[in-house]
Structures are given as C-alpha cells and as structure tokens.
Symmetry: D2
C-alpha cells in the first residue's frame, strides 16, 4: 500500500508528528556514490519557508542512513533513510480536532482506520512524507545518469507570472493552486508497455500519489481532445524516430519514442487556507465557522517541482532496470 515500483522499489513510512519519516529503496543498484550532501539541493528546493507563499515550518531534513550504504556507496541491500521530525507543534492540531478539515483526509482517515489514526498534523497523510519521495528521487536521478529530469512551475493561481499569482493569494488571504510541468531528456526508445504498464499509466500513478495533484496530462493533453488527427500526429522525420512536433509528450502506444517526455500536473490550492471556512463540527454535529490553525503554505504548488521530478525519476529508474538498460551493479 505504501510501496511502488517493481525492481527499484520505494517504501515510505512515518507521520507528521511522529519521531521520523523515512524511506526504504529496495533494489537500488550497488556501487552508486552516495552521501548526505547529495540530498541538500533537492531537499532545500522542497522546503518551505524560503520563498513567499510557503510554510514557515523549518525542518533540518538531514538524511540519516540506516542501511544500504557502506564506504559512501550503495551496497545493493535495502537503502533506508530517516528524516527526524524536530519541529512539530502538535498543539495546533489538537485544538481544532473537532473540525475535520475540508480538503484534508481527517474525516476519511477516521472512518477508514476506526479512529486509530495519528491525526496530528495529518499524520501519515501529511505532505511531510514528500521529503521521502524527494530523497528517493535523489537516488533515482543518480541511477539515471545522463537522463535529465526537470520540473518547472507553469502557472500559479491561473497566472503564468508566478509572482502575480501569489500576490492574488496574499491579497485574497486565501490559498491558490498551480500547474507544474516535468520534462525528461535523454530517454531511450522502448521504455514502458502497452496497456497497464504504459509510461503514462506508471507516471500518472506516481504523480497522483503526490498530495494535492488533481490532474495529469501528457504532451498536448486535454487540448488533444480538441485537435484534428493530422494536427495532433507527430510526424517521424528521421530513422531515429525523431518527431517534428511533440504532441504525444514523448510516449506512443505507452512506450517512450526517444523524444522529450513532457507532462503536466494540476495542483489544487492548499486545503489549509488562512481564510475562515464553514464545515462540520464533529462534536456538535453542526456546520460552523472555523479557521485552520498551524503553519501552512499559501501555495503548495511551489514545493511540487522537486517532488514531481522525484517520482518521475523513480518510475524511469525502475523502467531502465526492467529493460536491462541499467544493471544491478552500477557502471560495471
């Protein structure tokens, strides 16, 4: 339930206010150089508090290796990384336990787990766990070597000028969503399968596991539904399979075609808006006004790019191993 991948297999665990969150990567090739410093850039990119619109909660987020690394290289055994939770303020959440927060899992988690769930800070449902995904991505990107995975914000609050979109949120004292695009270059032809293990299926599966993602589209995506066939088809212009256009986003019949892989995700506005809301009070059974306490992002989309890169890299590392393009002992 909390694992993904076939040969490069990720397991995540932890709760927002528990002792730590963490990840096991099972099937990671042996012989990859890996130190805590490799994680700094992407973990910083993911962190809140460094830009307008993100949460002031600050975690040190130093990866603590528990297994699978020896002499600064991966061993081929399960690679386990912990991130301690040092900076939690559970009291914020305790106070407003009466209100299952709209847009959050509070209500459904309670029903699903019979009230046994750790509800503090969203517990296991917390966006805090995306630090584990980012860590997996750091390793996956190393596995992918010359394949480049890059995600960028296309739009915030409906504006392609991101600053402008954020200002809208600040002015409205509300949260906003956004759109993030991921591009992969350097992929070989032939990753993926027809039907259930299409590259689109696997990437969408992974992308929708990022909290707040509500839409995924490849290439022309939803716009393709409005195009004519000749217009949408990407003509092949040479014997390497290069296409003149890339409406398919680099995937045909579920298989990478050697062109850039391009896809986008829609991120809903942060559910924990500072604005007053009306919703059920569990204790009274009535709909009442309340405001979400705690530290939150005005726009969670700002933090998504390294997470989207991470899950993309995870999927592609797995496919490269499945296709035998990468061996279990690295660079051998």
């Amino acid at each position: 339930m909390n694992s993904f991948g076939r040969l490069f297999r990720i397991n995540i665990f932890g709760e927002s206010h528990g002792p730590a969150v963490g990840i096991i990567i099972d099937g990671c090739p042996a012989g990859i150089e890996l130190t805590a410093e490799d994680f700094v850039t992407d973990i910083e990119r993911r962190k809140g508090g460094t830009q307008k619109g993100t949460t002031p909660r600050q975690e040190a987020d130093i990866p603590i290796f528990q297994s699978g690394v020896f002499n600064s290289k991966t061993t081929g055994a399960p690679l386990t990384i912990l991130f301690e939770n040092n900076n939690t303020r559970s009291s914020d959440y305790q106070k407003q336990r009466a209100f299952p927060r709209p847009g959050h899992a509070d209500f459904v988690a309670s029903k699903k787990f019979g009230g046994n769930e750790d509800y503090r800070g969203g517990g296991h449902f917390s966006g805090r766990l995306t630090v584990c995904l980012v860590a997996a991505g750091v390793v996956a990107k190393k596995v992918l070597q010359n394949i480049s995975v890059t995600a960028n914000i296309l739009e915030i609050g409906g504006e392609s000028d991101v600053e402008k979109g954020l200002q809208k949120a600040i002015n409205a004292k509300d949260s906003v969503g956004g759109i993030v695009e991921c591009t992969v270059t350097g992929l070989p032809i032939g990753l993926g399968e027809p039907f259930f293990d299409s590259v689109e299926s696997l990437l969408a599966h992974a992308a929708f596991s990022i909290p707040a993602v509500k839409g995924v589209e490849f290439g022309a995506g939803f716009l393709a539904a409005k195009m004519f066939g000749v217009e949408h088809n990407d003509a092949i212009v040479d014997v390497n399979g290069t296409t003149g256009t890339n409406h398919a986003g680099g995937v045909v019949g579920g298989i990478t075609n050697g062109n850039n892989l391009v896809y986008r995700v829609a991120i809903k506005p942060t559910s924990s808006t500072p604005k007053e809301q009306e919703s059920l009070n569990w204790e009274t059974g009535e709909v009442e006004k309340f405001s979400v306490k705690g530290r939150h992002d005005l726009c969670i989309a700002l933090r998504v790019p390294p997470v989207l890169e991470a899950v993309t890299a995870m999927v592609l590392a797995d496919l490269m191993l499945l296709e035998g393009k990468i061996q279990r002992v690295f660079n051998q």
Copy 2:
C-alpha cells in the same frame, strides 16, 4: 506487464490479427451468476460500426468461457474468456508496412521487440484488446452490485454537441478527439490509501492504459489550479461526510469520501486519420506522403465510455475486496 489489480486481478492477451484476444480474471469471487448474455450490452456499446464516426469492422465478439464458470456461476478459480478474431484484413496493413504510422506504436514496438512483434493491425497494441477490458468490466460491475459506474461523452472535437463535433471531422476528412467523464455513485467511505495506492493513482493508472487517453483529471481537475482554497474546498455538511460541492471528485487524501466519484479523460484524435500525412518511409529513409489504409474510427472517443467504465469498475472491485467490503464467496 499485462496484468493489473491486487485481489481482483486482470490479465489481457492477444493480437489484433491473431486467433483471439482474451482475458483472465484471477481472484474473481465465487458464486456470481454469469452467462454470455451479460456481456451483450457493454460489448455492443464498445463496438464500431453502429454509429457515425466508428469503424465498419464488425466482430461478433461472443465471449467464450474457457474456465472459471460452472453451472452459470463463477467458481472462484481463474475466469478465462476468449474473443475470436474473425474479421481481420491483414493485407491492408501489410501493404503500408513501410510507414510506421504516426501516433501509433509501429516504430517503438519494432525498436522495443527487435522486429519480432506481430505488426498486423497494431498487433498487441491494438484497440481490439479493449474488448477484454470491457469484459472484465462486466464482471467487475456484477461484483460491485449497488455501486453504479457510468461514463458519458462530454465533448467531441471541442464541441459539447457531439453530432456537431463529428460533422467537423467528416467535413475536414480528418479524425477528432473528445472528453469522456465517468461518475460512480454508491461508494463507501474509505477506499484507497494515502500516496501510492490513492484512488486517483489507481484509476489514473487504469485509465491511461486505455489507448488514446492523454489526460486524466478528478473533480475540478485542471480548473482547480486556478481556484482559491476556500472556493475549492468541499465543506462537509453532515456527519456522513456529505459535501456541499464536489470539487474533489469524491476523493480526499487518496480516499473515497462517500460522495460521487467523478473524473474525466482526454482522448486524442484517432491516429489513423483518412487524411494524407507526411512521415518517415522506413524503406527509403525519407519523409514521404502516405494515407493510412484499413478500417478506422473517425473518433475513437465514441467507443471509450464502456471501456472507461470497465477499468473503473475493475479498480473499485479490487478496492472493495481489499477493504473486506466484498467477500471471496459472493453474497454469503
């Protein structure tokens, strides 16, 4: 690679011009009444040739049970169904083998499988295999009992008046795409998991396994990226978790919330457009003009609704079994 699901597990096989396509459902509960007649409606809905814009190829598409049914009931053993391929015209494909058709898997399949693939009619990549998905859906819907799964066409060729959209294609002598929406009613609260097995992840995985799907969105979907938080949040209005609006599409934190599940897919225009195209000729190594031969749909989106219902029902049947809401012996 060609299987999906954990407890209600689907395996599909076959090629467009081979002897048959088929499906195994492993983990199907025992005791479900099942006869060939149960398949008629959805298989007819999927079929080409019955409406403007679909292919004139006609298959009888009678399900042939090979295993798992006894005395007109499922036994609990693997349920295997064949659909014979009676009405194939391989010569159409043979003639234009020089052109790897744009938008199709011809080029990537050849690279991936080293030229060993059955290329006739797209082989294993053919939309023909969606009849297997539809058959799985018929069984899955029976498993789901009072849960209703319905897909409808929202838009063809950019027009919500579908006839108008089709006429555009006919006038342009080109193919067009469309948008299909699926709605599920009667779901319990609590299906799905946070992260990798979120309901969105599983449904998107399944939906992107349908050929020609290029986008998937839940509830407000891509529009959510343009909304404010308070606007998007679905306030809970009673102790059953009923929400006033349904921008989330019935899923929060990856878990069903008891409201209607609503999601949409974008279908690209049929790659086999009747219009002349320019693309690589493998034999000459040059870009040349050609027209796709064979019988094809002007708008494949027209045939998607029963397929989308099918994969949706498959995913939900699996989740209902995982959650223990359905037992392995039916109605016991």
Copy 3:
C-alpha cells in the same frame, strides 16, 4: 493467486473437465523460436498411460497458441497456450460426489468456494493443470539456453529400484509415493537474494505448487541437520568459487554459488488409491467405505520429473532476467 514470477510471469487456468486448460507467460523475451513441436518431448514425458503405474487417460495435449507467437517466434507480448480437454469422463466423478475424497481438495474446495467450485475431476485443483506448467517449462528452458535442468526419480515406494517400488504398489493394490531430484548445471554465480527471495525460497515456493509434493530439501537437506559444521561446509577450492563438496546444493546465503544446484522433492502416494477406504459420506454424515472411481495413477511421482524441471526453469528464467543476464529481446 494463480500466477508466479516477477519478470517471467506465469498464469495458469482451467479445470479438469472444462473446455481447456491453459497458460499465459507474460514477460517472455521476444525472438525465441517456438513451434508446437518444441513441446512434444516434455509433454510426452508428463503423460500418463505410457508406463506401468500411470493413468490410462490419454490427452492429445497439442499446444494451441492464442497469442504471443508470430512467424514461429515469440513476439514479446503475452504468450498464451491452450490445451483442450478432449478425454474427460465426468460421470465417474458425479457418481461418487457424496464422498469428499481423502487426500484431495474436494472437502476444502467446497468450504472455500461455497459449493460453487467445478468439482468434476478435481476441477481447478486437478493435476491436469501440470500440463500448463510443463509448457511454461519448455519455454523457460529455451530462455535458459546453456543452463541444463534435469529431474530424475530417486526412489519409488521407498525403493531406489523403481520397478520394485511399483511392483509393491501393484501387489498391494494401493498407490505409492516417491522422491524426485532436480539438478541444474551451468548457472552463474549470484542469482537470488538473501531472505525472502532466496533461491531456496523461490524454488520451494514453485515446487510446493506441484500437487502431491510434501517436502523439499536442498543439497544435504534433512541430513544436514545431523552433520557437524566442518563436515557440512563446502570448502571453496578455487577463485571461481568451485567447492569440493556440494552439501549446500549450490546455494549459500540464498544465492547461487556457481556449483550444481541440487534439490529433491517428496511426493506423497496418489490419493486416489484403488484400495477401499473409509471416510465421510457427505450425504449421510457417516463414515462409510467407498472406492475411488475414475482413471488414476498408481504412482504420481512417475510423472513429476518434467513438471519439477518446468517450475525450476521458470524460477531460474525469472532470476536470469532479474539479474540482467538475459535481455528482453533474445540473443540481441
């Protein structure tokens, strides 16, 4: 439930008295030459009726390819093979339905599947399905190329002189069991994993899926429990890892060590003995005498060697693919 393997994945289906039994191999490499004739030898070895002690039921057992083969080569798509059931006599089983046969699954199947199971000839529990395993083995052996997998009967009815063991059964008008040993030569070092995916775990998993297997041991096996450490340890005698003895059966720490892989299975006597038994009569609720009708083997162990080879080859083909020793396009 009815599938096995990670990259070379087997699915079996069918009932003893249904229209057919069959198999899908998903993940079979493309480009393997394959015709019906490749199956003749192993299928004949498995068949009853050709030697003293096996059932007179004769099946033609001609493999019917449904998918995955094109121009006499595997395509890389799912490989589906049917074996029709032509020679069934359901009335034999119908008559004695009152007695859940001791040693058979009649009683437990009825409880598990709520009486919906196809009980004729054991239904899906029938040894008939081992023809599917044998077929998978034929393909797996081709994948393994220069790795040789051979199983032999070591002992029948407690006698290493097999004829003598069979004669004991004939004299006693009862059935007998036996021991079968499988030896694999030509394996590389390094297949398998510590713990859950140890070569022993995977082979034992597969071997115990053969009906009537009640014990599995590697190398010295149960005898190892009586040995001293220095006696049991296989000293390494050269830099290739060659060992002087092979008490480990070619597996240490769950990993192949480059020596011959050797393991044995214990086969119980055929449950359908011709001798009169006493057991529950479902209809009367009383213990009564009865004799099993139908055609049966005096010693099912005689038919096990090609089946044991098959499941062994399946496991090893999967491990060779996992380890990247075999690519998805064959001999490329």
Copy 4:
C-alpha cells in the same frame, strides 16, 4: 526483494554492523494494542547467550517504533520498528576478510554486488536480521488472536535429547544442526490456494528465508514418499472435516483443512564452526587453513523456534486478511 506478503507485507533492512536493523509492516490492521513489552518474550527466546550453544553476543534489542503506533495502538499506517546495533566487533571480521567463509555468503555476495557489499559480520546476510522477523511475528500473532503458533526443537545433532546433541558439538569442538517443528492450532478451513499460493508454497517460501534452513516438510513429509495411499490418506471422520490422522499436516490441495498445521524445517550446522577449516584464501588464491573468528552459535537451530513461529504467523496473518477473516480495523 526484501519484502514478503500481499496484504500483511513485511520489509526488512539493515546490516549486522550498521547503525540498526529494522522492519516495516505495511498493511497491519489498525487498532491493535502494541507496546515494546509485547516483544520481550519472543526476542529473549531468539537471543544468543542465554543457553549453552548460543553466541555470547548480547543485544539489548529494544524495539524502537518509528511510525504506525499512536496511543499504544497500531494506526493502520506502515508500522516501522528499529533495533539498534550496539554490540558489534567489526575488527573480528576485518581480520579474516581474506577468507570467504565456507557456508556463508561472503563469496557470492562479493560477486553479486561487485564488492560493494557491507561484509562486516555478514552485512545484510547476517542472522542478525532475524530479530526483524521475530518482531513481525509478534505483531502477526496479535493479528491471529486465537490461532496458536508454536515451534519446538525436535532434534539437535541427530539426537532427540537436545542436551546430548549439544554435548556432541562441544566434545567435537564443532557446530551442529537440528530439526524444528511448527504446529498451528485453531486455523479455519479454506486458507491458501491451489498451485502457486498453496499454504505449503507460502510457508516454505517464508521458512527458507530463514538463514540455515535447508529442508521443509509438511505432515509426514519425506516419509510420505515411502507410504501407501490408504496409509497416508487422512480419512475425514465428521462433517467439520476433522481427520483421524494428520499425515497431510493440515493442508490438502494447498488449502488448510481445519486440522492442525504441522511442518518441520532442517537447520544446517552453524557455518562458523570453531574448528579449523581449509578453504580459499582470496589474497593468495590458494586453499589454506583458517579458523573463523567472532562470536558464534554452536547450534543456530536453538534460536530458530521463535523465528519459525514468526514467519509462520506472518504468512497466516496475510492469508487471514486475504480471506476476509480479519478486517483492516481490528475487532470492529
């Protein structure tokens, strides 16, 4: 590779001389009372140093919960437990690195992982990781409630008088093996599947993942190969499926039959015998005499019972969940 189970899913990680070993249980039902004290008994049983014949290495082995427990109950989220490695003496291993120890994974691990493996104390191959299995077993036994899982030593060094067997080892200054039997009472009828997911397949898979296990047999096991059919068959004596004898060990057709489940494992003598051995010296390339340094058990079989119980309980908890006999929220 390092995970097992379908719904009650175990992941293990860690190395003998790394910071910690640990386990994730994914799919553990919510609402089970769980504290560190629950682990004391089985962890003590597993520990070395408390009886003649086991290693003097002493670990505190206090379970450290990282996730999945809240208010002393399981939450339904992944349950992660660490066991710190406090008492390691890597220098012992460093010194004799030249000799890949016979019976150990030193040689194969080096080949498999390209020399990147953590070789100290056997690294990830160490028996140290069985503490993780024992921990999983503690939780699994709680899940199983009234089902009792008990393993006992049947024989050490070929002697049913265990003290006598150990004395043989002490006298010979060598290590010895043994046989351990596991009995499960209180199982329902109907767990398991025909073929690949037979109860025997799953239990053997799990049992062979315990280091040093070289044979597994159910009920009469290898002795069954010497019996006649009427002798081996367990006559059913009442409508509940009770059998007069239990030669099948409680499993027919791969399915539990409601009688006691009984199986045995053969444990090889500890590979690290104190006695001098001759084997390859990697540095010289010659066969030389050496003695294994470090603290080791004379008879590892003594420590197997709680580990065998643990993997048995894991498998059965998974099957009980699969069969819907246990729900994801406990005792609801």
